[in-house]
């Protein structure tokens, strides 16, 4: 297991009326991309602000490479890059002057990486940053956060406002950053957007973490689901008697949904050769399904407890 970059220790920030975050406890490992998913108002931004040291938790503390996120906020910024959720630029005449000003704050002399990013994002920085479109603002903010080659990147909903093409470009850039060994926290309210990118994804709801999914397990599950439809009723009836785990049956369409373990692939497909199939289709597993299951289970547990 990699070293831990950010350790969030049971932090609570209570804004009253059930708003805020409650007893959050998780960690960001060095070199991973950590997704942070939740609806609006679920506490993503509140968490990130506490990591940034802008907000002091009521309880608990956040440890960033041995430094306290709040007390040592200035020190931690030396290796953190940040894209805020709501982007508003200082009152400067052009995007270039903004980038230059940020470089001055960072004491960054070499702007070659910034220039490279400007090329990748195809952005015209001569415009007044306050009059930029949402997408342009987003890109400019990302450039400002990345140009320092910071080890840890905190990106609060960086892809909202980007068109699909730009989003793809942006995710590619993040993959490159990951390849450089960066630790990245990225928040979003859309599962699809980040599931391809992340190593782990945390689901936050009402200020509490529901679960942290390991994407490797979702992409390569032990059991896969297949939907099979038979051409005739006989085959369908016969198949039901096989020693195969059937999840669901649709009588009228002669359809079954089965779950197959990795090791049983060979025997399963051998078995299938004996039947006349109309089609076979894999029911892909994804983050949304994962969390839905998790969520349902939680609710059921909750009901049982009650």
């Amino acid at each position: 297991m990699n070293a831990v970059d950010i350790k969030i220790n049971h932090i609570t920030k209570d804004y009253g009326q059930n708003r805020g975050v409650f007893d959050l406890n998780f960690e960001l490992r060095r070199g991973e991309i950590f997704g942070f998913v939740g609806t609006n108002g679920s506490g993503k931004t509140t968490t990130i602000r506490q990591i940034m040291g802008f907000i002091k938790p009521n309880n608990g503390h956040i440890d960033i490479r041995g430094l306290d996120a709040y007390k040592d906020a200035t020190e931690t910024k030396k290796f953190i890059g940040y894209v805020p959720g709501e982007i508003s630029f200082p009152d400067l005449p052009t995007g270039i002057s903004f980038i230059k000003s940020q470089a001055e704050f960072l004491k960054l002399k070499d702007l070659s990486y910034a220039n490279e990013l400007i090329k990748i994002f195809q952005i015209d920085l001569r415009a007044n940053p306050r009059k930029m479109s949402k997408g342009m603002k987003q890109k400019t903010a990302v450039i400002a956060a990345l140009m320092n080659d910071a080890d840890i990147l905190l990106l609060d909903e960086p892809t909202t406002g980007l068109d699909p093409l730009m989003r793809k470009l942006f995710l590619e850039v993040l993959e490159k950053e990951k390849a450089k060994g960066k630790t990245i926290l990225i928040s979003s309210n859309i599962f699809e957007e980040i599931e391809a990118l992340c190593d782990r994804v945390a689901l936050i709801k009402d200020g509490k973490i529901i679960d942290i999914a390991v994407m490797e397990e979702i992409r390569n599950p032990i059991k896969r689901e297949y939907k099979i439809e038979f051409n005739n009723k006989d085959d369908f009836e016969k198949f039901k008697l096989e020693n195969i785990e059937i999840v669901r049956i649709k009588e009228e369409q002669n359809q079954v949904i089965v779950k197959i373990n990795k090791e049983e692939y060979n025997s399963f497909f051998k078995t299938l050769t004996k039947y006349n199939l109309k089609f076979i289709n894999e029911n892909k597993y994804n983050l949304e399904k994962y969390f839905k299951e998790k969520f349902n289970r939680l609710e059921r547990d909750g009901e049982n407890h009650d």
Binding site: R49, F54, T74, E75, P84, I87, F89, S101, Q102, F105
Partner: protein
């Protein structure tokens, strides 16, 4: 301890507002000084003063005229019986003498009808009257014999004789001027008496009035206590110089005296008491005020339009307005505005301490105000230099003090706005509290002016002085800076306010949660 890139950002973001406010305020002040120096800034005060002085002078004239009138009238009243008696006596004697003379001459062919007539008449005269009768008879008959006058000429001669007798009859120590007065009024009394055989009160009043009317202007040259005091107050050597300076001449002065007397006569004839009538007529603007004349004059003389306009209206009000607007908007945009919009996130996501941010912004705010007042000060110096030889009465030293005082005042206000900006995360609260307080202070100062001692008591609304206790701008006592007095403690308190508000603002910003 400061962040250079943040300072640059602040300058770029607020520089234009700073420039506009500085230029507008400087130009306003420059024009003000230039205008005050060129259009006789004290014109208003002087014309006010003029009318006060004129009112006072005219009251003095009327008072003097009435006094003179009363004296002359009394003299006439006292002289009248004597003149009447003498006139009757002389007329009778001369009639008898002329009659006797003609009889002796024409019917008896007397060789010396004059002597004869005198003898005859003296024989019928009591002994004690004989010397006077001899003199009258001799004078009349000598004149008659020599000139053979008409009746009219004889009457005139008799009148002259009567006057001579009256004058001669006066005591030796009576001064020459009084004799002249008596001579003049006796002439007029006789003139009327000889026609009407009596004098009414109106006749006497008219004689007295005409006498004063004709001689009043010339009489003013006679030194007296009242005029000496006026000359001292106004700074003239003679009363005639003073009169000329205020546009009076013989005709107007005598006219004023005349109108005073006519008024007086009409009051008296309607049964008014002397004292009341006189005080009614001689009511000046000053005498209507509670203080005495000298005190009112002193206050008015001390009222300086330059001090009022530049020291109070500009440096404490008009000239503060734009810098305060600048302070309100800038203080907000330096912190709360950037927290509210979220743009401060970019600064604080770099290794820049919160305290470095607040101190940099404080230095920008105070520094920009210092630069602003240096420019305003330089402009005020240049403008003063241009009008130096004219009537502008504020020195360079006083201007320097005014600029420093106004700067300290604005810095104290900037401290309040800065504290509000550092305290609140929302612009609307920052501007509402910081800007609201600042504007309240400014408006209170404007309202308080009407009750302050800066403006003359005659125009003051005392109750409005209350507002001077609801604004910290009162602590900048520009009037004391210009007119002398202790102003330093107020400025020290303002500095204290600035120091405390900035420190609290910086500490608060270090500790609070930031929604970035």
């Amino acid at each position: 301890m400061i962040s250079v890139p943040l300072l640059k950002q602040s300058i770029k973001a607020n520089g234009v507002a700073w420039l506009l406010v500085t230029l507008a305020t400087s130009i306003m002040l420059g024009i003000l000084i230039f205008v005050l120096g060129n259009i006789q800034s004290n014109e208003i005060r002087d014309s006010l003063k003029d009318s006060f002085i004129k009112s006072e002078l005219e009251a003095q004239f009327k008072s003097g005229a009435i006094d003179g009138f009363v004296i002359v009238y009394d003299t006439i009243y006292k002289l009248y019986p004597e003149i009447k008696n003498t006139y009757d006596q002389v007329t009778n004697l001369s009639n008898v003498a002329v009659l006797t003379y003609n009889e002796l001459k024409n019917q008896f062919n007397h060789p010396n009808p004059k002597e004869g007539a005198i003898q005859i008449i003296l024989n019928n005269t009591p002994d004690e009257d004989k010397p006077l009768a001899t003199f009258i008879l001799t004078s009349v008959l000598t004149y008659y014999e020599t000139n053979n006058p008409t009746q009219n000429e004889l009457t005139q001669f008799i009148s002259k004789l009567v006057i001579d007798l009256i004058i001669n009859n006066m005591e030796e120590e009576v001064p020459e001027e009084t004799r002249a007065v008596v001579k003049s009024i006796s002439q007029q009394i006789i003139e009327i008496y000889s026609k009407n055989n009596e004098l009414t009160i109106e006749n006497m009043q008219t004689i007295a009035r005409l006498y004063i009317e004709n001689s009043f202007y010339d009489q003013l040259g006679t030194p007296n206590e009242q005029t000496d005091k006026m000359l001292e107050v106004f700074g003239y050597d003679t009363i005639y110089e003073l009169l000329e300076a205020f546009g009076y001449n013989k005709t107007t002065v005598n006219g004023i005296a005349s109108s005073g007397i006519i008024q007086y006569i009409s009051y008296i004839n309607n049964g008014m008491e002397h004292d009341l009538a006189k005080s009614e007529i001689t009511k000046s603007l000053f005498s209507q005020m509670p203080e005495d004349v000298a005190e009112s004059l002193t206050e008015l003389g001390d009222m300086n339009i330059d001090h009022l306009v530049v020291g109070t209206i500009f440096y404490k009000m008009a000239g503060l307005l734009l810098p305060i607007v600048y302070v309100i908007t800038t203080a907000n945009s330096l912190i709360a505005g950037q927290v509210d919009s979220g743009s401060l996130a970019f600064v604080l996501s770099t290794p820049t301490k919160r305290r470095k941010v607040t101190i940099t912004q404080m230095i920008y705010l105070i520094g920009s105000l210092i630069c602003m007042y240096i420019i305003i000060g330089v402009v005020s110096f240049i403008a003063t230099m241009l009008v130096k030889d004219k009537t502008f009465s504020i020195t360079y030293q006083d201007l320097l003090k005014l600029n420093v005082g106004a700067l300290i005042t604005v810095i104290a206000i900037s401290g309040i706005c800065f504290l509000a900006s550092a305290w609140f995360n929302r612009s609307k609260y920052s501007v509402g509290v910081g800007g609201g307080l600042s504007m309240f202070f400014l408006v209170s100062t404007i309202l308080g002016l009407f009750g302050s001692s800066t403006i003359p008591e005659a125009l003051r609304i005392k109750a409005m002085n209350f507002f001077n206790y609801t604004t910290i701008i009162t602590l900048f006592d520009s009037e004391k800076i210009l007119s002398g007095g202790t102003y330093i403690y107020g400025l020290l308190i303002l500095l204290g306010i600035a120091i405390i508000t900035y420190i609290i603002g910086i500490i608060r910003f270090d500790k609070k949660d930031l929604p970035l």
